[in-house]
């Protein structure tokens, strides 16, 4: 038996109450591991193409990974995979919290939910039984009230009124963490499923537990010694990016019209820490503790993350930090994704200004935003249309050129005309406008310590492939993306900061060899049989020890490639093609700054090379050769 796994995947059909163990072979576990990779493979196998995402035929899959709940630091992510009602594409929504740990303690690696309950229910999973319980008393409650009414000791996934009302960007909440994107909460609502709770005392088998514990201990030390994960994230949270993005023209301002705003400092991580921070919070087993707790209306609640600050701040010309804390709390209670929310608000404000629709919402005006948020969650008035997302709004009222989405998913808080490779990532991301599945190249272009020219398209396709592959692999192992900062060793950062020559060499090196780097990741795994330096890639050694397999750097890279390609294959089967790898005209045609002729995302210059490096045809479809190399069966 492979270490780390509980060895069982639970399948529940809410239409008829049927429960069974779904068989997952050792080969599938070895190839797709867990979390995002396993979730996508299962959905690809189980969901036929063309299914309405909000129909009982859609499937919701909750996955964990071998290292979940085993003591590895920052590695207890839970993933939810389904077909998105917002985009029609696949969505993998990843979050921290503790649900994954509790699901494994109940004895399961994953949960597959099918069908639709005839009335509101919640699902209770323990090591002794799986039961479908009446949720009559929970239906209508917000996410906090719902969790309060459920057993304290169990892990929980819940939806709020937005999920119940099938808002296309409703999220799922667990403690204060959120599986936010692309409407996973609406899928749960469409199944009349108010909550899933899990708990137990089971533990997975780990072949050499003592050695694994030592590795985890050393891994914690690596995170505790790194300047990003030991100083900046604990001090300022994800919000530490606000000021640097504003400085580098990557802060969406006024519905992505501009990339910087003079008022942004007021909603920064520094301002949050100075004025409202009560204390740090952490996901289960995390040594970083990037979460913020703030005080809102006399209650101590989760503080806003970077994305929320950007989208409900500069993007709607709001510099009132206290108000953002309140909007964030309200959105979490109702169960709304704050990225899509800020984007929808920005679109409506601009459309109203241009006379395309009638609204009292306006840039810089915040007193009516709480009402708008509530109207979206309960689908009242214009909220009924806003609940469908910006793509729908632009189709109904016009304004497609400034409807900031890709494949229907609203783009998050990085203005890509200040970092054009990041824009390519948004366009090609399988779940639509997403910074993480887009490869997060803005970190190499604007807000990271080692940066390449942000406005050139040279080398960017390869860098997008490289970053996507690494993030995908890390995610599939169940690790938080912040564990990836270990790849930037402190000594390297110090050298980069001290020596202009080193900084220049690194910058040019990434740029000129970017495409080659991306292509080199297509090498078969056996050509890279090495164990990577632990300080840079502790995830690889830890996963090998946890599972008792010969997991190498080559397999880590191949895992990232395989996981991304199976995502793509799902979308291709649903009819997605190159035409869908697109961005609105505002980002591709309008210059962000008139004095910078390259400050627009020149997709046409990058897409063909991106497909080529990926081993896809020019319609963006994985070729048979690529699938064979990655051992992906259709």
């Amino acid at each position: 038996m492979l270490g780390g796994y509980m060895g069982r995947v639970l399948e529940v059909n809410l239409s008829n109450g049927e429960r069974r163990l779904y068989p997952v072979s050792r080969r599938i576990r070895e190839l797709y591991v867990g979390n995002k990779g396993l979730g996508t493979r299962l959905l690809y196998d189980l969901l036929p193409p063309g299914v309405d995402p909000l129909s009982p035929d859609n499937i919701m899959i909750v996955t964990t990974a071998p290292m979940t709940g085993t003591g590895a630091p920052s590695t207890n992510r839970v993933n939810i995979t389904t077909k998105s009602p917002l985009t029609g594409a696949i969505v993998n929504s990843n979050s921290g919290g503790n649900f994954g740990v509790h699901l494994k303690r109940a004895g399961y690696d994953a949960l597959i939910v099918r069908g639709k309950a005839p009335k509101p229910v919640y699902l209770k999973i323990t090591e002794d039984e799986v039961s479908i319980e009446d949720a009559k008393e929970l239906w209508g409650l917000d996410t906090h009230e719902t969790q309060e009414k459920l057993p304290k000791e169990m892990g929980k996934l819940v939806i709020g009124p937005a999920g119940e009302n099938l808002v296309k960007f409703a999220c799922i909440v667990s403690q204060e963490r959120v599986n936010g994107r692309a409407g996973v909460g609406a899928v749960m609502g469409s199944k009349n499923l108010k909550a899933v709770i899990a708990g137990g005392k089971m533990k997975p088998y780990i072949p050499d537990e003592e050695a694994y514990r030592e590795t985890c201990k050393a891994w914690r030390e690596v995170l505790k010694a790194h300047p990003a994960t030991s100083q900046q994230l604990p001090s300022y949270g994800t919000a530490s990016f606000i000021n640097i993005c504003n400085a580098t023209f990557t802060m969406p301002t006024r519905n992505f019209k501009y990339g910087t705003w003079e008022e942004t400092e007021k909603v920064s991580g520094e301002s949050l820490a100075e004025k409202y921070l009560v204390k740090n919070t952490a996901c289960y087993g995390c040594v970083i503790a990037c979460g913020r707790q703030v005080e809102v209306q006399g209650k101590k609640v989760k503080g806003p993350e970077y994305e929320t600050l950007g989208m409900l701040g500069p993007n709607i010309l709001n510099s009132d930090l206290k108000a953002i804390c309140e909007f964030n709390y309200q959105a979490d209670l109702l169960g709304l994704d704050t990225i899509s929310l800020g984007n929808v608000l920005g679109f409506v404000m601009e459309a109203g200004e241009k006379g395309l629709l009638k609204t009292e919402l306006a840039f810089g005006k915040i007193d009516n935003i709480p009402q708008a948020i509530e109207d979206i969650a309960y689908r009242r008035g214009l909220g009924e249309d806003m609940a469908e997302g910006v793509r729908f709004l632009s189709q109904k009222y016009g304004g497609k050129e400034f409807a900031i989405h890709s494949k229907g998913l609203e783009i998050p808080s990085y203005e890509p005309r200040g970092a054009v490779g990041h824009g390519l990532g948004y366009a090609v991301s399988c779940r639509g406008g997403c910074h993480l599945q887009g490869g997060y190249v803005v970190y190499l272009e604007a807000n990271g310590p080692i940066t390449v020219d942000p406005l050139t398209t040279r080398g960017k396709p390869g860098l997008v492939v490289m970053n996507q592959t690494m993030l995908e692999a890390v995610s599939t192992l169940g690790c938080c993306n912040f564990t990836i900062f270990t790849m930037l060793m402190p000594k390297l950062l110090e050298l980069n900061a001290r020596s202009a020559l080193v900084a220049k060499m690194l910058s040019l090196g990434f740029l000129y060899s970017g495409n080659l780097l991306g292509k080199s990741l297509s090498m078969p795994s056996w050509t890279i049989p090495v164990k990577p330096p632990f300080m840079m890639f502790p995830q690889v050694k830890a996963h090998a020890q946890c599972t008792g397999t010969n997991f190498t750097m080559g397999k880590f890279i191949e895992l990232g490639q395989r996981s991304y390609n199976i995502d793509k294959l799902f979308n291709v089967r649903e009819g997605f093609a190159a035409k869908d790898d697109s961005l609105p005209e505002r980002l591709t045609e309008e210059l962000q700054r008139s004095e910078e002729p390259n400050s627009r995302v020149r997709l046409a210059e990058m897409l063909p090379t991106y497909y080529k490096i990926r081993g896809w045809d020019q319609e963006g479809r994985p070729t048979d050769k690529t699938l064979k190399r990655l051992k992906i069966e259709r």
Partner: protein, 96 residues
Amino acid sequence: MRSPEEDTNDTFEAMVEVKLFATIRKVAGEKGFKTEASNVQEVLEEIYRKYGPEIRSEMAYCTILVNGRNIAHLRGKRTRLKEGDVISFFPPLAGG
């Protein structure tokens, strides 16, 4: 080759705005200051002089921007400054 904006007289000192962020700001105890300097190196020296040795460890990994552009894409610490330039100092950040 120098760009026109960099190609100024070596001895000319411009009044520039220095902005400090995150843990650098925390140690400095202020958001920034205005100073006269002809290049980035002189600004750095002013920071060390102003805030003492404690600031050095915070500056060890820092990213320096001049008007939003990373100095790695300009002339490093020899990047010349002109009147009104904004020089921003960030530690290695993570987020988002």
